[in-house]
Symmetry: C2
Subunit: 214 residues, 2 copies
């Protein structure tokens, strides 16, 4: 069952960067399960999925992350917190493990995927290490977009968190040396009835400033 | 009206990077209108919307873009084509025009927004020009994610296009000197009944490889 265009727009207008969550309300387990599956299903270039998503449940870790996030209360009050991390590299081993997984799922012999593998390798080898990480990080932002849009259509509130110290997040989550680095975070849950931002008119530039027909 | 978790997942599983579109099927005008509104509503850091979205209708321009996209047939066969561009800079004038717009929509005096304005300025001034463009480009990927997820829940097919020559796109669209540069493109429409990719099993890493609970 799909959604109607007007219902999609109503959901996207319902969405806003929630500053005050209701700490008493938790996302039901089966709904949260859909969020995790939605993260896993996020599309990425070549299907490489250059990411890992940390669902932070431990209250002590959330306190530490809060301190690395300008003490924003969402870190504690939101029902759920996801830290979206990007692969810091794109190695031949990364490509090989993706090709092996594709082969396994689609029942295609590895040899038949040699063309795809070669294409990814030549694409990858044209990038510097910094470009690879930047490219992986952009892919992670697709996941952030899908996550927030998924939340909106499910009627769940979210707040993207860019005002964080990624280096401190990495340390807190034990990421140095793992090949992953914090890109961005997102808090999810239910808005507090007192969040004044919930009733602020949605502000965007005019359609004509943002959309151009050619 | 929101969507149920299982329906969201069905929509995300329906989605795949459509390689062959049915050239005879067009997205109805009112549905397309919802896509444009969805693009406009995309969240961005500080609300800055550092982007412009080009909806390319002109068949000659689409032919030229196809030549700058490894001749991928989606450029022509898809019902609609969006080129997502990012601001190449983040100037005080950008910040001022956003603050002015916010003031106008929310009925808040500009002076009352001085704190926000100063926060964005100090954030921005800490970045090099290259970092600003990279940051803007990441924001554009949120729009790409929202666009593809919106398509999925509307039952519309899409194909993200990263295998393009951004510099050639810029030239074709007349972007040099405008302060915007091509980040990525996305074709939207309806899959061809002959697209063999439509029936390929969806391939992702195992949940446990991608999601970590801490």
């Amino acid at each position: 069952m799909t959604i109607q265009p007007n219902d999609l727009l109503a959901a996207l207008r319902f969405r806003y960067a929630t500053k005050a969550f209701d700490p008493a309300r938790k996302i039901p387990a089966e709904t949260w399960d859909a969020f995790e599956k939605s993260l896993v299903l996020t599309p990425s270039s070549f299907g490489l999925q250059p990411w890992k998503f940390f669902v932070v449940e431990n209250p002590e870790i959330r306190e530490k992350l809060k301190a690395a996030s300008w003490n924003q209360p969402q870190l504690i009050d939101a029902s759920h917190l996801v830290v979206l991390t990007a692969r810091t590299d794109l190695t031949q081993a990364d490509i090989d493990s993706w090709i092996a997984r594709l082969s396994e799922i689609q029942g295609t012999p590895i040899e038949a995927l040699a063309g795809l593998s070669g294409m990814i390798s030549s694409f990858s080898s044209a990038m510097t290490p910094a470009e690879k990480q930047a490219w992986n990080t952009r892919q992670v932002y697709i996941a952030l977009g899908q996550l927030m849009t998924s939340a909106a259509v499910l009627g769940i509130d979210s707040c993207p968190l860019e005002g964080i110290s990624p280096a401190d997040y990495d340390t807190i989550l034990g990421l140095p040396g793992t090949g992953y680095a914090t890109a961005v975070a997102c808090a999810l849950g239910y808005r507090s009835p007192e969040d004044k931002y919930a009733v602020a008119p949605k502000a965007r530039f005019l359609d004509a400033q943002v959309i151009e027909h050619v």
